[in-house]
């Protein structure tokens, strides 16, 4: 089914975020769905224009924090009451207030690790190769330019008409991304 000569998609370059947002809106209105924007810094308006679904990512962090906290507490409980009970001045083995600082630290550690590794995993990073890196001008996405890509896997994608459509959005350039 896949045509070997088929490119990854097309890339349109814009000079600022409002121009990109407007282009995204018009591209979506045209019926394209496999589109993505690339910006040199996070822009909320772009995310809104793309109508990105609400991410479940915070749940990952919450779960990581809860697991960290529970493990931290259980470890101390098990050590202090079962594995190595020490009678310190007749105080109870399960002296829970003393276990809270480490439980807190482990909660934060679990949540922070899942925040970072969860973010990387959901973003599919590390990804050493990506077709976009073949386009030399795409290097400007990490400097000053804003890009919109329409991918060839979009059912509506057809190289020449899509190129003409993107050109009608008044971008700086329209570039082809080889597969």
């Amino acid at each position: 089914m896949t045509n070997p000569a088929k490119p990854y998609g097309l890339l349109a370059e814009f000079k600022d975020a409002p121009a990109l947002c407007e282009a995204i809106r018009r591209t979506r209105a045209e019926g394209y769905r496999q589109i993505e924007a690339y910006t040199p810094f996070p822009v909320e308006a772009v995310e809104e224009a793309l109508e990105l679904p609400q991410t479940r990512f915070p749940l990952v962090v919450l779960t990581g924090g809860i697991i960290g906290g529970i493990c931290g507490y259980l470890l101390q409980f098990w050590v202090a009451t079962i594995a190595y009970p020490l009678n310190v001045g007749g105080r109870p083995y399960h002296s829970w207030p003393m276990f809270l600082p480490i439980t807190f630290e482990m909660t934060v550690l679990g949540a922070a690790l899942s925040a970072v590794f969860g973010m990387l995993a959901l973003n599919g990073l590390p990804m050493p190769y990506h077709p976009l890196f073949n386009v030399e001008r795409f290097g400007l996405a990490s400097r000053s330019r804003f890009f919109l890509s329409v991918q060839s896997r979009d059912p509506k994608f057809d190289l020449e008409p899509t190129r003409a459509f993107l050109a009608s959005l008044e971008p700086r350039r329209v570039l082809e991304v080889p597969a």
């Binding site: 990105l52 990512f57 922070a112 970072v116 959901l122 990073l125 990804m127 050493p128 990490s142």
Partner: protein, 472 residues
Amino acid sequence: MTSELQQHEAADDVPGEIGVLAPGHTYGTVTDKISSIVLRRGVQRGWLFGFSVALMGFLLLQGALGATIYFGLGLWGINAPVGWGLAIVNFVWWVGIGHAGTLISAVLLLLHQDWRTSINRFAEAMTLFAVANAGLFPVLHLGRIWVFYWLFPYPNTMAIWPQFRSPLMWDVFAVSTYATVSFLFWFVGLIPDLATLRDRSQSKVGQFFYGALAMGWRGSATHWYRYRTAYLLLAGLATPLVVSVHTIVGLDFASSIIPGWHSTIFPPYFVAGAIYSGFAMVVTLCIPLRWAYGLEDFITMKHLDNMAKVILATGLIVGYGYGMEVFFGWYSANEYEKYLVLNRAIGPYWPFYWALIVCNVLTPIALWFPQVRRNIPLLFVISIIVNIGMWLERFVIVVTSLHRDYLPSSWGMYVPTKVDWSLYIGTLGFFLSLLFLFIRILPVISIFEMRELVAKTSEEEAAHGHAPEPTA
């Protein structure tokens, strides 16, 4: 009335008013300016000189470390009754300095303080290196550094486990968690900038190095969305963490029964002291940095002014802490507590106590004056005095409390040895060596956040350019 308001508005708009970013910058100029510090070829003489000096300190550290590990702690000045000497003083001092980075990055991010943007990356790196130095001291203080892993709970053939009721054990978890989370926060902040450097770098080595670390970051909107969420969540997590770390260090002292340590004020007073010394260290390092690399456009007078205000505020809290220590000595009606307060002020270590009061309570008074906060050389000197003062504070807390035990028969004096001092100076060298390397190979200012700041300031300017809202 209206004319008065207009005058105020006009005063706000005076061109050349110092903001968090000098006017005239675009996405391209901030990117090029900051990345050029890293991407230029070769090294400059100034950098080489500074790095060499710092490296000598690092060599000193290696010598002192080797001697301590080979011959043992007998090389240090510690003995009964002062078992916590310079090692603990330096530990607390370095951990304290390590607080500013995360505080600037996390707390000021959550409070929407735009001025954090140009100093957060640098302060985070400073935090990491300070915490690395801090961690060294308690581990050395164990005496047998090669079994330091006994601190961690792991199943072992000795069938023993750590004592989780001890604040020293809490410290192990607090400091290691803090180091880990600070590193993650710093690295996550770096990812988009590493991608920028990958795309700007002209050399194969640079492209490979930054490319590998950037992990294929493309700046896609979906990625940014999760990235933003992760960064905010990390900031939210780091905020209570930063408070907990020095609280637990404070509890190391407060949960003992030593006069002068057994006090409920220790945790908050330690946290304030940590922020105080951390900001002072950021100022100490920022001033030469902005001068050497011409970063005056990004680290403006506004930043220095704001940091000076933080130093002033936390200095007042610290001063209050000293006052309360004296008050407790009297109010406790406990002869040992009372004796301790007097011993600090007029005992054998009196010069340290009074030097500490001069450095930490009297010197920051100058920061009430805007002229002082805007005088760069003066601010630089004050920040160094504060750092010295905070070191003295820890010395006074650790040594004066221990050297006069309850029974006069167990009294003693503590004098640090050459090895003690070498370790301290050595960690300063290690700290500076790491900073020099950091400045050379990684962007000292968060580039993508500066671009964000450019977008924000240009929006604000555009809004100002239009007819102002009539005052209703």
